[in-house]
């Protein structure tokens, strides 16, 4: 039995270059990295030195504030360099992989006899704990907490998003085992959301399954939480990405620490958009370089075009990301663009004529498409916000630094991805996501 929820408020942005359902084995990259900036709000303390040999699953650094939270190497190899930025901040720990990969093995995992503490210890030990994200705030879960519920979204509705049914092919048993293990961490339920008709929920024992349909952000876990059982002040819920649940499940079933995942390589600046099997932390160039169109100046993004982070061929795929996309840079002037019909450009409003082409896919670039202004069209954002939140009021409370109001207006319920559409449609070109993160940081400081 499955529960179906349809999201009506939202916006599907159909872009050219969605990955086709073909899988390529990327092979080993020349270098992998663990980047502390992938994780929100941690201060890394090194556990290894340059030149040391590590296995996949061996700890590389820990978080200064929570020393039990370890971050481990995704591959076996030699620590090549600890790259530091300004003020000696650690930017990346680079690892040259061994030709023959060796995984750390945990013997004698018996999920039946484990309690919550055993599960925590296991996940902490192998560096899987950072996979668990806590709401409010979208940060790594506190090891001391017991979450009200755990939410897993096995569908992604963002533009160019990976088809989770494809990336988790053959992983049903791992998914099932991962969910059963996570179930031990919560006093409440584990919720698994899938697309309508997805096979991923078949045979899942320990989760309550929901099917989500409708427009983006139907696939965002934040939307799903809001529809299934919204977060109230004082609640803590956890979310885990489905490919991470499968990694946890694989650990339970085989005892092997394996960071392999299938990612989508998509976007209009990609020659042949497709799926690639890689290991977490791989150098982006290693699996997209030969696939980028040479005649466009491309921006490479780890993650989707709405929320991803900017990277380059020399960068590394984000720890949480299951896609890399490349879009043309929009650093070109457009004569009288704002008055032209602009058939090729996309707008939620019908003020350009692109609405004439129903179902057409768009080739969007990274141009800001206008200048930054104050809020003028204050009422359009509700159209893309399926949660019971007034986004403009929340953002204004953050800009005013009013902690009480932020709390009252629902800052516990949202992270960047939940308001990314507001930023996308914003005619005043206001940077919603970074304002929200500033607000969340203020809240964390305050609590």
């Amino acid at each position: 039995m499955s529960n179906k929820i349809t999201i009506k408020k939202g916006l599907d942005i159909r872009l050219v270059g969605k990955a086709e359902n073909t899988l390529h084995e990327a092979g080993l990259a020349e270098v992998y990295a663990v980047c502390p900036d992938d994780y929100k709000g941690i201060t890394p303390k090194m556990l290894v030195a340059e030149g040391e040999h590590v296995l996949a699953g061996d700890a590389i650094f820990f978080d200064k504030a929570n020393p039990e939270v370890l971050f481990s190497s995704p591959v076996s190899g030699t620590v090549k360099a600890i790259v530091r930025g300004e003020k000696r901040k650690i930017m990346a720990v680079e690892i040259t992989p061994d030709a023959q990969q060796e995984h750390r093995r945990i013997e004698g995992i018996n999920p039946g006899s484990m309690n919550a503490q055993d599960v925590k210890d296991l996940l902490l030990k192998v560096g899987f704990w950072p996979m668990i994200i806590q709401r409010p705030f979208g940060i790594i879960a506190s090891t001391a907490a017991t979450p009200r519920d755990i939410f897993i979204s096995a569908l992604d509705t963002a533009p160019l998003a990976a088809d989770i049914d494809f990336t988790l092919q053959g992983q049903t048993e791992n998914l099932n085992a991962g969910i059963s293990l996570l179930k031990k961490l919560t006093s409440g339920k584990v919720y698994l959301s899938t697309a309508v008709g997805s096979k991923l929920s078949e045979g899942i024992k320990d989760a309550e399954c929901y099917e989500f349909a409708g427009k983006h952000p139907a696939g965002n876990v934040g939307t799903q939480i809001a529809k299934i059982n919204p977060i109230a002040k004082g609640d803590v819920v956890w979310t885990v990405a489905p490919h991470h649940v499968a990694m946890i499940g694989n650990l339970v079933r085989t005892g092997e620490v394996n960071f392999e995942k299938i990612v989508a390589v998509a976007g209009s600046a990609i020659e042949s958009p497709r799926y690639q099997r890689i290991i977490s932390g791989a150098k982006v160039g290693s699996f997209v370089k030969s696939n980028i169109k040479t005649d466009v100046k491309a921006r490479i993004i780890s993650g989707n075009p709405l929320t991803g982070s900017r990277t380059c061929e020399e960068g590394y795929i984000g720890f949480y990301d299951n896609m890399v996309c490349a879009l043309p840079e929009g650093d070109k002037y457009e004569l009288f663009g704002w008055i032209a019909p602009r058939f090729k450009k996309f707008s939620m409003s019908r003020s350009y004529f692109s609405w004439l082409q129903c179902g057409k896919k768009y080739d969007l670039d990274t141009n800001l498409n206008g200048g930054v202004r104050t809020f003028v069209l204050n009422d359009i954002y509700n159209k893309v916000m399926p949660m019971d939140i007034y986004p403009v009021y929340l953002i204004k409370a953050i800009l005013a630094g009013d902690i009480d109001k932020m709390e009252n207006l629902g800052i516990y319920e949202v992270i960047e991805e939940d308001i990314a559409l507001c930023e996308f449609i914003c005619p005043s070109k206001i940077e919603w996501q970074s304002i929200l993160r500033d607000g969340i940081n203020q809240m964390i400081k305050e609590l």
Partner: protein
């Protein structure tokens, strides 16, 4: 000639330290008018909707065009009626165009000069909001309004109505209506009565017999003042709908305004909820007064209220201002209804203000934040209730 190269060549002299750096905002406004800048996204979403404030404002201007063009024709048409001249449609339009143009120019020049100057002082980009305000102001004026008065009213509206609050997006009252209110209270004879609505009538033109220049708004008050009755069934209601009547330049043709409304609703720029609730509020209030039936004005069929005066124009172009109106979906219904109800109430009960729409919208602008406050408070209560439920 490569326009872009030309712009790039002169750009440095307008930048910080350049010869004309005091005109930086002005240059920027013209440059972005010509070219969408090549700015790319740096943080957050990498792709953006092509909608920006320039486009928003230009769609509103397009929506205003039917009413503007008809208004121009009607200036000529009313003048021909008054003089008894037999003009062609084109002749009437041309007459109206020539007499409307100075009003538009004065409004834009005054307002934009202030906008450019304040953008420069604040080191901001020039906001496009005035492009709409600058056209709205002459459209809600009588054709005979003196140009100097229009300039002062525009300056008042832009400086005290908008810039002191921080510019477009920060204002409390609709600036165009403030300009009208300024003239209404400072020079009442120039914006009320029977004579100002037809070009030349106020300046001594003697109309032909039978032409009064009175607007439909004054039918009931005049009848009540003279102690006569009105036969409401034999009035040229379709003329009111098409707009062949004296009145403020842009407001007479309900038909042209509805075309504008369709454009605004279709493009998704203005809220249909506000428009519907303003009309509904006015109609319900008019019907209630029909039931009370205490004087001649109360006997006027309720839907007449929606056709006469600035009701339709206010509902479509003024009440829907996203900055000064209610911003929550529930709030919009309440806000719109208040405007409709108040407009009719003021018309019928206060003989001193023959047109209630302007005051009704300004009043609703003032209370819109309170309406929104309660709607948002309800959202907060729902959220707090969840806390109580989950701690039980």
């Amino acid at each position: 000639m490569d326009l872009r190269k030309l712009v790039d060549n002169i750009k440095p002299s307008f930048e910080e330290g350049g010869k004309f750096s005091a005109l930086h905002s002005t240059f920027d406004a013209f440059e972005t008018f010509l070219f969408v800048p090549k700015t790319v996204t740096t943080r957050g979403s990498h792709i953006r909707d092509v909608m920006d404030i320039k486009r928003t404002m230009s769609v509103v201007i397009i929506a205003l065009l039917p009413a503007l063009l008809f208004g121009m024709f009607n200036i000529g048409y009313q003048h021909s009626m008054a003089t008894g001249a037999n003009e062609t449609i084109l002749g009437n339009f041309w007459f109206g165009f020539l007499h409307m143009l100075p009003l538009i120019i004065v409004s834009y020049v005054t307002g934009l000069a202030i906008e450019f100057a304040s953008a420069q002082i604040r080191h901001h980009e020039v906001n496009e909001g005035f492009l709409v305000t600058g056209l709205l102001i002459p459209m809600i004026m009588p054709i005979d309004v003196p140009l100097w008065m229009l300039a002062i009213a525009t300056a008042f509206a832009v400086i005290l109505g908008k810039e002191v609050f921080g510019g477009t997006g920060m204002n409390i009252f609709n600036p165009a209506l403030l300009a009208r209110a300024f003239i209404f209270f400072s020079y009442p004879t120039k914006i009320s009565g029977d004579k100002v609505w037809t070009y030349g009538l106020d300046g001594g033109l003697t109309p032909v017999d039978g032409f009064s220049g009175a607007t439909p708004l004054s039918i009931a008050p005049n009848a009540m003042a003279n102690g006569t009755t009105v036969d409401w069934s034999c009035l040229p209601v379709m003329d009111w709908f098409y707009g062949f009547i004296p009145g403020s330049i842009g407001e007479t043709s309900t038909l042209a305004i509805l075309i504008g409304a369709a454009i605004l609703i279709f493009t998704g720029i203005a809220s249909w909820k506000v428009m519907v609730s303003v009309f509904a509020g006015g109609f319900v209030m008019g019907s209630l007064l029909n039931l009370i039936d205490a004087n001649t004005y109360m006997q006027m069929p309720a839907y007449y209220h929606l056709l006469i005066g600035g009701f339709a124009f206010g509902a479509v172009f003024m009440a829907t201002d996203p900055v000064t109106g209610a911003q929550t979906e529930t709030g919009k219904w309440i806000y719109g209804a208040i405007i409709g109800i108040m407009a009719v109430l003021i018309r019928v009960f206060n003989a001193g203000y023959p047109e209630g729409m302007m005051l009704a919208i300004l009043f609703a602008n003032a209370i819109a934040p309170i309406i929104d406050y309660y709607v948002v408070q309800a959202n907060i209560s729902r959220r707090q209730k969840r806390v109580k439920c989950s701690t039980k």
